[in-house]
């Protein structure tokens, strides 16, 4: 048996497993940073994102992403049975990125399934506390079929962006920015939570109900990110540790800088915003974690730490899109930022190509997200009614409270 192949399989599997676990991280972050009365609901949305992502990516998405390329735009084969995309030895070989060495189709499939589901699950946080459950399920299936795999094909499936040399190693754009844009469009169409904005347009803070589990979510995500970034080699290489270092340093720098920025800006170091800072650094380094030096990683992280705070503030107070957990700022803005900065900090990557890449993905995803969310809104309706929102989605959408034995009090 070829040990290098076995090493590659083990490695890719390990990465996939860690990325799977990020689902738990998202669920905890989103539950912890929103209100207790919607906790069961947000957790169900996270769970169903993964479930529907797994099923629809298997049935259709994988073919769109890795099927036979049509003009660099879309994959066109492997539908309903993606294992037909393997060769006689059971190996997939889409030549997706340089030095890609081939893997059995199964491990390749599970690896890309968990990436797809990550993009989907980003959205639930931004749309939390007011989105109808059934409507959300439809969106969740749609992103796994119509959005993620298409731009995924461009970037990783041998499509036009990968041919152009666009560098998005582990998915700052392909996963995070895609999720972040969908989050923005969804939250925008949905409108803000009741009580979020005052009559004069000023924003109210609506504190999350369980900071410890929110923080646990961030730790889990950071942990999983080692799989996300290092696993994206999809082969055992000697560079694994280097990728882990850039990933870790960027996250550390971003956390520290976000802490300092909130401390200066708000007078006190803000807990949940600092935790957003950690994620911002992780998102930003994801595109170039294999291509930049440790010091560049520190710089990318530090920039992300500043940008994320101002971006979230801007979206909250100026754009007035209500994103309870800051998903747009973290994944959308820092995904875009990190992809571009890869061009700035890596000598081998062209800034222009990076700009073309993020621009085209931005346009495609924005259009598709607008279409999908508008269609859902016009048919099923995206939003729960006022009473359901006020009483909490757990009560009306699921019939049971998330914290049955606790005395809760209503916030605003």
């Amino acid at each position: 048996m070829d040990t290098q192949l076995l090493l590659n399989i083990m490695w890719t599997f390990l990465g996939a497993t860690l990325v799977y676990f990020m689902q738990a991280g998202f669920a905890m972050v989103e539950a912890g940073f929103t209100r207790a009365k919607n906790s069961g609901n947000i957790i169900m949305k996270n769970m169903m994102d993964f479930v529907l992502g797994s099923i629809f990516f298997f049935l259709i998405g994988f073919g769109v992403m890795f099927g036979n390329d049509f003009n660099g735009i879309i994959g066109t084969s492997g539908f309903l049975n993606p294992t037909t995309l393997a060769d006689a030895e059971g190996m997939i070989n889409v030549g997706a990125w340089d030095g890609y060495t081939g893997l059995p189709i199964g491990v390749f499939l599970i690896f890309h399934t968990v990436f797809c589901a990550t993009a989907a699950t980003i959205v639930s946080g931004a749309m939390a506390e007011r989105t109808k459950f059934s409507a959300y399920l439809v969106y969740s299936a749609a992103i796994s079929v119509f959005i993620y795999p298409v731009t995924g094909h461009w970037i990783w499936g041998g499509g036009w962006l990968s041919q152009l040399g666009f560098h998005d190693f582990a998915g700052s754009t392909a996963v995070h920015m895609v999720g972040g844009i969908c989050a923005f469009i969804g939250a925008k169409i949905l409108g803000p939570r009741i009580g979020k904005y005052n009559a004069d347009g000023s924003a109210n803070g609506i504190p999350g109900h369980n900071i410890p589990i929110g923080a646990l979510g961030v730790f889990i995500l950071w942990f999983g990110w080692f799989g996300f970034n290092c696993g994206s080699t999809v082969e055992a290489t000697t560079t694994i540790g280097d990728i882990a270092m850039t990933t870790n340093l960027a996250a550390a720098a971003s956390t520290l800088v976000a802490l300092i920025v909130t401390w200066i800006k708000y007078g006190k170091p803000d807990v949940s915003m600092t935790l957003n800072g950690s994620l911002a650094g992780l998102v930003a380094i994801t595109a170039g974690c294999d291509a930049v030096s440790n010091y560049s990683a520190l710089a990318i992280g530090a920039i992300a730490g500043v940008v994320v705070v101002f971006a979230i503030d801007f979206i909250d107070k100026v754009v007035k899109v209500d994103d309870p957990v800051g998903a747009v700022g973290v994944h959308g803005c820092c995904g875009l930022l990190g992809t571009i900065l890869t061009g700035v900090f890596s000598p081998d990557v062209s800034v222009v190509t990076q700009l073309i890449g993020v621009g085209s993905v931005l346009v495609y995803v924005t259009i598709l997200a607008i279409i999908i969310f508008t269609l859902i809104n016009k048919t099923i309706g995206l939003r729960v009614n006022k009473e359901e929102e006020v009483d909490g989605l757990d009560l009306h959408e699921h019939g049971a409270p998330a914290y049955a034995n606790f005395n809760l009090h209503r916030d605003r």
């Binding site: 006020v390 009560l395 019939g399 049971a400 005395n407 809760l408 009090h409 209503r410 605003r412």
Partner: protein, 112 residues
């Protein structure tokens, strides 16, 4: 001096606070309670088994005010908190014998 005990739906708390401010109520005490009156509870299913909740979350706001302020508040509450639905809540009125401000030892109306 009277104590008003005002029981309302939790989501009306901000409105009630505005009324009390307007009427110069000097202070208030807020309690999260479970209650039922004419609005009876409901049944929920947890894992398919019934889970009776004839109790609903309510907020009880108590304020001690001069007699004349009392009627003023009652009037405004009936006017503004009223949605016409069961469960809008109730006000109970009690006589208060005395009040003491711990900080100064003042008694009676002074202490409000």
């Amino acid at each position: 001096m009277k104590k008003l005990e005002i029981v309302i739906k939790p989501e009306k708390l901000e409105d009630l606070k505005a009324i009390l401010d307007e009427c110069n109520a000097n202070g208030l005490m807020i309690n999260n309670i479970m209650g039922y009156g004419n609005q009876k509870g409901y049944k929920q299913l947890y894992r398919g088994a019934e889970y009776k909740t004839n109790l609903l979350p309510k907020v009880k706001v108590e304020t001690v005010v001069e007699d004349e302020v009392s009627e003023n508040i009652i009037g405004k509450v009936v006017e503004q908190i009223n949605t016409g639905n069961y469960g809008d809540g109730k006000i109970f009125v009690y006589e208060v014998q005395d009040a003491v401000r711990i900080r100064t030892g003042e008694r009676g109306s002074e202490a409000l």
